[in-house]
Symmetry: C2
DNA sequence: ATATATTGAACGAACGATTGTTCATAATAT
DNA sequence: ATATTATGAACAATCGTTCGTTCAATATAT
């Protein structure tokens, strides 16, 4: 009868999960605004309207909150992977991916959080691995598409597809980062980017 | 008679300048090993064999030490700018630049320090500007070379040269960063990178 | 159905360590 | 003698984390 009949959760578990999300989101906003190391655990708790001690009931420590955010990023990347593995004309699909991922990267918060995570990942192996895995899902999906396109002679490039996929991604992210720092529009960069990529991948035009 | 006759410095000024360098280098090592925010001022002073208070005689604060390091990076980039503006066959010159800059980026300390600086630059305008200027010297030098090469029909690309130069740089740095995180050799990536860039810039082969 | 026991979320004071910076004092070069 | 540099103790603030405690929700026994 009650609405929690569908999901086998008690009031308690549900509330707890909500709190976790609230803390995670508050932390995201803080890390975004101040940076990871400039954010205190108290800042997160305050923004989440949660007591300091309670935060530690939901997370072992500050570091783990960032890990949770990195894991969230993985979920946000999943739709792009799915989109890439659809069937269809390779070039058209590639272009759609580039455009949509560029749009995703045009939101500064996505770029800044990625930088924050990746800079922390240098010295924190667990974050590093999570980050690398996130990335590798995307690149292998791109690589598959490139291979398929090359087999169908829609692409013509000599580089190893896996390498090429990495470079496509690095190019996209590099431009996005550049746009954030210089406060320019990512959208304005898209045509040039597309041309550059088409040339690099040998798209017939 | 004395060797400091050439440079009009007293013993004192010279010693002071040396101290400054020692502090700067010690800070570099610390930032490299622990990261900027994980490094305490005391760590820097200790590694430089300098008292805590004395460090503040040479630098207004911790932030300014990082600025000094960013300024050093500018000097390290200058040779590449000079190399780029030499005369000679455009493609050959471009390849030499890519190879030598890739070699520079193959040293992890260069990459990590750049990340450390750029991540701090997001929220510190002065660092951001310094960083952007460093970068723009390089890109405009690359852009000039690309323009020259295209005029001589050694290159064939449709993108705006300034944009193309940025993308070349982002690609190089992106790959370098990737190599640091995954602990792979930058040298192994160079051939694929060269091919990719040649295709993108329409180098006849 | 009612009473009792168990659980774990919520809280904020308290902890010890460390932060970046300042300052009075001592040493030293000019 | 004077001006500059070197020193480390002292400062206030903040750090991430732990603590004992309260209390509401759940599970169990009656």
């Amino acid at each position: 009868m009650t609405d929690d009949a569908q999901k086998p959760q008690g009031k308690r578990e549900r509330a707890s999960a909500d709190r976790r999300l609230k803390i995670r989101d508050a932390a995201m906003m803080c890390f975004l605004e101040y940076g990871f190391h400039q954010t205190g655990v108290r800042d997160i708790a305050a923004r989440a309207n949660v007591s300091l001690g309670n935060l530690y009931n939901h997370f072992p420590g500050k570091h783990d909150v960032l890990v949770e955010i990195a894991a969230l990023e993985r979920e946000e990347l999943a739709p792009f992977v799915r989109q890439l593995s659809k069937t269809g004309p390779a070039v058209r699909q590639f272009d759609k991916f580039v455009a949509s991922y560029a749009k995703y990267l045009s939101r500064p918060e996505n770029v800044i959080l990625t930088i924050e995570i990746s800079s922390e990942a240098i010295r924190k192996p667990d974050l590093g691995q999570l980050f690398a895995e996130n990335r590798s899902h995307l690149t292998s999906a791109i690589a598959d598409l490139l291979r398929r396109g090359r087999d169908a002679q829609a692409f013509d490039f000599a580089t190893d597809p896996e390498d090429a996929a990495l470079m496509v991604l690095e190019l996209l992210e590099g431009r996005a980062y550049h746009c954030v720092l210089n406060e320019t529009k990512m959208r304005a960069q898209l045509p040039g980017l597309q041309m550059f990529l088409h040339a690099a991948l040998g798209v017939k035009s």
